[in-house]
């Protein structure tokens, strides 16, 4: 085996499933962001004579029990869920990867401390943690986001640490060190290319988890409070009208389903 063969990058795989997931996600994003560009009805404005009005040619999405535009509420709820999930995943990646590299690099006491802390977070079911944090400061989406980040970082930490350990002991990195390259170069040149593709998979899973958690908390009325449009809370509000206005109840359900499905398609295989 030549030295070149040793470092040869794996061929990039973009299976159809992943492309389909990306396409759905892109479509949802366009749908959610469109009202910001072209304007649209206010998600909080009530027009009671339109209450529970079904979809029509003019309003494809109909109105809810208070006569609020379902289109406006749905797009706003999409923005909230996707935004929270996106920010939570990104803020979980940064400390997760940094701590993972640090633990693998320095080992010893630092490794043990960080690993123990991550164990503690792992031993607590994620939703419980988010629920408790959401209870600390209710009515604040920021607490939901902090809670979700606190749950998600552990995964990045564990994966980065596991990947970085053998890499740091590899001949390639030894050579880099002997040549006098600093830590930043080694991270960028050797570690990042190995870690980055896995981040996409884990990140998509994490985003799906975040969306489900936000919806579940909204559903049990602990998360975002009404009248803020949120998918889980919308389902709770619209459940009593399932017979008169099934379209209204189905919309947040379909929205959650599509988002999570898209992210799972992107993530592909189950969690490593």
């Amino acid at each position: 085996m030549t030295v070149l063969g040793y470092v040869a990058p794996r061929p990039k795989k973009w299976p159809l499933r992943r492309l389909a997931g990306l396409a759905i996600l892109a479509a949802l994003l366009v749908f959610a962001l469109l009202p910001l560009v072209i304007g649209g009805p206010d998600p909080l404005k009530q027009t009671l004579r339109l209450a529970l009005k079904g979809p029509s040619a003019a309003d494809w999405f109909g109105y809810d029990h208070l006569g609020r535009s379902m289109y406006a509420r749905l797009t706003a709820a999409f923005r909230l869920s996707l935004g929270l999930a996106g920010v939570a995943v990104v803020t979980a990646i940064v400390p997760g990867v940094l701590l993972g590299v640090l633990a693998a690099w320095r080992g010893g006491v630092i490794d043990r401390i960080v690993s123990t802390v991550s164990e503690a977070f792992l031993a607590l079911p994620g939703l419980l943690l988010v629920l408790m944090l959401a209870a600390i400061v209710p009515d604040q989406p920021i607490m939901l986001y902090v809670g979700i980040s606190l749950v998600l970082w552990v995964e990045y930490f564990r994966i980065t640490r596991a990947l970085a350990r053998p890499l740091l002991a590899s001949p390639a990195i030894e050579a880099s060190r002997l040549l006098g390259f600093g830590p930043l170069y080694i991270i960028r040149r050797h570690l990042w290319p190995e870690i980055a593709p896995i981040l996409l998979t884990v990140g998509a899973h994490g985003a799906a988890t975040a969306i489900m958690a936000v919806a579940a908390l909204g559903f049990v009325s602990v998360g975002v409070r009404p009248p803020t449009p949120e998918l889980g809370a919308m389902m709770t509000e619209l459940l009593p009208y399932y017979e008169e206005a099934p379209h209204a109840l189905l919309q947040p359900i379909a929205a959650t389903f599509l988002m999570v499905l898209a992210l799972q398609l992107i993530a592909g295989k189950d969690k490593p």
């Binding site: 031993a123 408790m132 579940a216 559903f219 889980g232 389903f257 999570v260 799972q264």
Partner: protein, 310 residues
Amino acid sequence: MIKAIFNRLLQAVLVALLVGLLTFVMARSLPGDLAYRIAAGRYGYDLVGSAAAAKVSAELDLGQSALAALGRWFMDLVRLDLGTSLVTGAPVIDEISHHLGHTIKLSAAAILLSLLIGPPLGIFAGLRPGGVLDRGLLLVSTALRALPQFVVGLILIIVFGLMLQLLPTAGHDRGGHLILPALTLALGLAAVSNRVARDAMLSVSRSPYYTFGRTKGLSGWQVFLRHGLRNVAVPIVTYLGIQFVYLVEGVVVVETLFAWPGIGHALVHAIFGRDVPVIQGTALVMGLMFVALNALVDALCHLTDPRRAA
């Protein structure tokens, strides 16, 4: 094995510490006056006055310093005393043991039901990869996994409870009440376990020892019982452990949805009532339950796979 037990014990202690710290921060940063909120929880929002709040405050010693309160909670915990509920005044441990019984009943039913649904279907699918059952299962389990549990529960309620009027949708006193919440949890668990069983069956049936079993003249059923079942069971049991997260989290939401008087329902209610000792106790018990379930799976793996015993 001893190392595994030690690790789980360490995890249990860490859970206690983390829960204690979190709930402590929570109790101290609650918006609004704690005494007023607790008084509201006790006597109803209309009957709260400064007199009631003062009474509550004096009774519960709410004026003490933050650090003292945290220290006291941990000291009590060591003595296995979880304190008393701020709302009902009953010992937290009594309330929790009452709820825990219902939760264990629901969880056990859900696990059993999911084992009856998931692995058998997965094994049949794995015996004929690419067949109608295999593709159908893939479709259904992908769809189920993309729906949050409470949505699955909602759909079950609407279909079986409201449209067909077959099953009760809330409550707990009759046997039928268990079916829908247990089914909701079981479907979520089975959505994953059938895929695991399917992949395991596929790899086992393609293995040399399985082929040899067929070659030496065993029937399909015999070779499955002798060479297949145990090997398929190993990844399923391992996966059960990962699924417990799903179960413990699901219990919170599903119990609330079906008004099942378990620990998840109690937790959500305690959060509404700002009943801090109950929140602390419930979160602690749920965390410990989770650690215990994982330890149980470790032991089960150990028993199913003799190769690991070394």
